[in-house]
Symmetry: C2
Subunit: 362 residues, 2 copies
């Protein structure tokens, strides 16, 4: 089998720590199945800024383009240093251009509750039990990438951002979401705000049209304010949620609450090809960096998504997810998952130990 | 004492039912304190459409301007009739123009948990106990009122909406939020998305400047995605949340979940004067209309806000809130609040009975 290039952007603070554990898992699979990976280190964010004064060097993009997939750690600095040039430009200088450059218009974030962690959710057990939601977020258009700026109106400063969507941009992601729904429970809920936003009216129109090609899939519509409510009141009603860049940002973070820890959630960003970018949905958590306490599971589950979507290895993807579920079922907990009072049988472990345990189940 | 004009827009479906109960409470106060109210019926939404083919007649605006305050029921039709002209234009034709016409730029939505209903929340008791959050939502600008339309880009249709804020629009609502914080727990959390949106950068800049005039109030900043998460994970950290029109729409609906029923939540919309518009945050609930089962508490609590903000009657506002709390503490429940298994001591009552009971405590 020929070598598969995997680009790794370790990210900042806890980024390199958790990414390292994910690579252990990848390495174990490589040995077990006799695959050949070429792990390519790619400089970006703080690391790149320190060396080159930019957050996303050309060289990184060039090398990334040669890879089958990218594994990314969280980018960003501590809140108290956000005005420092090392950190202030990370989103506009690295995170968003990376998505745009590779045309990764589909962002997938799955909220699935682990039985063994259900007590961690701030939400009652009977409400979250069994939930399994896939949020399909548009990632390369909308107000994130629309025209933005400053102008003078009536003699004072006005700052603006344009939310804009073209038909084709909605259509391609709508198709993806119906395809995912077919592999799941055949339901798509479009979330927008069509009673106020023109762009939402186009979302409804285009998605309704696409739905006609998927007669086996039910299409529902919900206003975003109601969706923010329903996601907590009755999360079990959702299968696939299809939404815009901005609404997807908000709703996917909100949905992560159902699980009780943001340290569990991976995401996949995909375009038209198999190439994908895989990253945890959480930030770089400077306050807990370097202490061997960060939860590597979000990053390890990125490996599962990478196997499934970029490498066409669904069985090994399942294997990684099963290894994670087993470690949790056996009571291993990083600090974010550990509750002294309730968890008599559980064992507090560090970042590295959690990585080792999960790797040992491969 | 001279007559005080109160304009009443009963709204659609359950609107007139719950508004009627709120007016009973107002009537009881009028008698008890020997006030003189002139209750002015104002036609709008479905009612106005049927008669005049418009959702907000000029006459309604003219008469409303002569009132000290407006009590409004929810506007809107059933989901299956949303394309019918009677309902499709309600938001753009009545709800938004009403806010804009009277320059009601400050929308207040309070989430405070009733001890006797804490079991209704989908969120665990220890997480929601004691929460008391005031969301201050900007209501007459932003993407709701920005330029919007349709254009052709690269030969295809693009629909757009502009999120725009002027300095003065941010400044005036920031001042309000700091003033409210001073009467509460001295903390304001600004919610925006300054790592992506230019308009959010202006929010941060202007709010930071306003904060200097309120040295006793702490100002925090949170990105909207994180806020959507924190609101459920740790709602106790919030006192006043200050945010834009769009984010406020989403977050205030989400916050209503903490209470377990959206039927409990009133809102106040205010401008620079005492004049205000008071309305439940929920919709017109066509499916339960006409059955004497809707919860009138949201509308009754609108009376409390109206007394407090428009009529300078803080003691009577407290009295209304105490009457509601007493009815709940004594176990009276409309259907939305009733849980057979858990509520042994509670008594299921209808809309009218709930109104009568609360009125009897005045
Ligand atoms: C860091 C930020 C630009 C980013 C976003 O808003 O997309 C993050 O919140 C996310 O959801 O991946
Ligand atoms: C009906 C709609 C236009 C309105 C809004 O989005 O402002 C409603 O959701 C609200 O929050 O009052």
């Amino acid at each position: 089998m020929k070598e598969i290039k995997i680009g790794v952007l370790p990210g900042d603070y806890i980024g390199p720590e958790i990414t390292k554990e994910a690579l252990k898992v990848l390495n174990a699979l490589e040995k077990k199945y006799d695959w050949q990976f070429d792990i390519v280190h790619l400089e970006a964010s703080g690391e790149a800024y320190d060396k080159y004064g930019v957050h996303l060097p050309e060289e990184t993009l060039r090398k990334a383009a040669e890879c089958a997939a990218l594994l990314k750690g969280p980018f960003g600095g501590p809140p108290e240093e956000l005005n420092h040039p090392k950190w202030s430009g990370v989103e506009q200088g690295a995170i968003l251009p990376l998505r745009k450059h590779f045309n990764l218009f589909t962002n997938l974030r799955e909220s699935k509750v682990f039985d063994s962690l259900i007590h961690l959710s701030p939400i009652k057990k009977e409400v979250v039990a069994g939930i399994d939601i896939l949020i399909v977020r548009e990632l390369t258009s909308g107000i994130y990438f629309g025209e933005k700026g400053e102008r003078t109106v009536d003699g004072e400063r006005e700052y603006f951002d344009v939310e804009a969507y073209k038909e084709s941009e909605i259509e391609r992601i709508a198709i993806k979401s119906f395809e995912y729904a077919q592999q799941r429970r055949n339901k798509v809920t479009l979330v927008a705000k069509s009673n106020v936003l023109k762009s939402s009216v186009l979302w409804r129109e285009v998605v309704n049209k696409v739905a006609k090609d998927y007669p086996g899939v039910t299409l529902d519509y919900m206003h975003v304010d109601n969706a923010a409510m329903q996601l907590i009141l009755n999360p079990g009603q959702f299968d696939v949620i299809l939404t815009s860049n901005m609404f997807g940002d908000i709703l996917s973070d909100e949905a992560s609450v159902l699980l009780g820890s943001i340290g569990l959630l991976p995401s996949a960003s995909l375009g038209e090809s198999k190439f994908g970018l895989y990253e945890p949905i959480h930030g770089s958590a400077p306050s807990i960096a370097g202490q061997n306490i960060a939860n590597p599971i979000s990053s390890i589950l990125c490996i599962a998504l990478l196997l499934r979507f970029s490498l066409d290895k669904p069985e090994q993807a399942d294997e990684v997810e099963a290894a994670v579920a087993r470690a949790l079922a056996e009571g291993y907990r990083t600090k974010d998952l550990y509750q002294e009072a309730q968890d008599d049988a559980s064992k507090l472990v560090g970042t590295v130990e959690m990585g080792d345990i999960i790797t040992s189940y491969i």
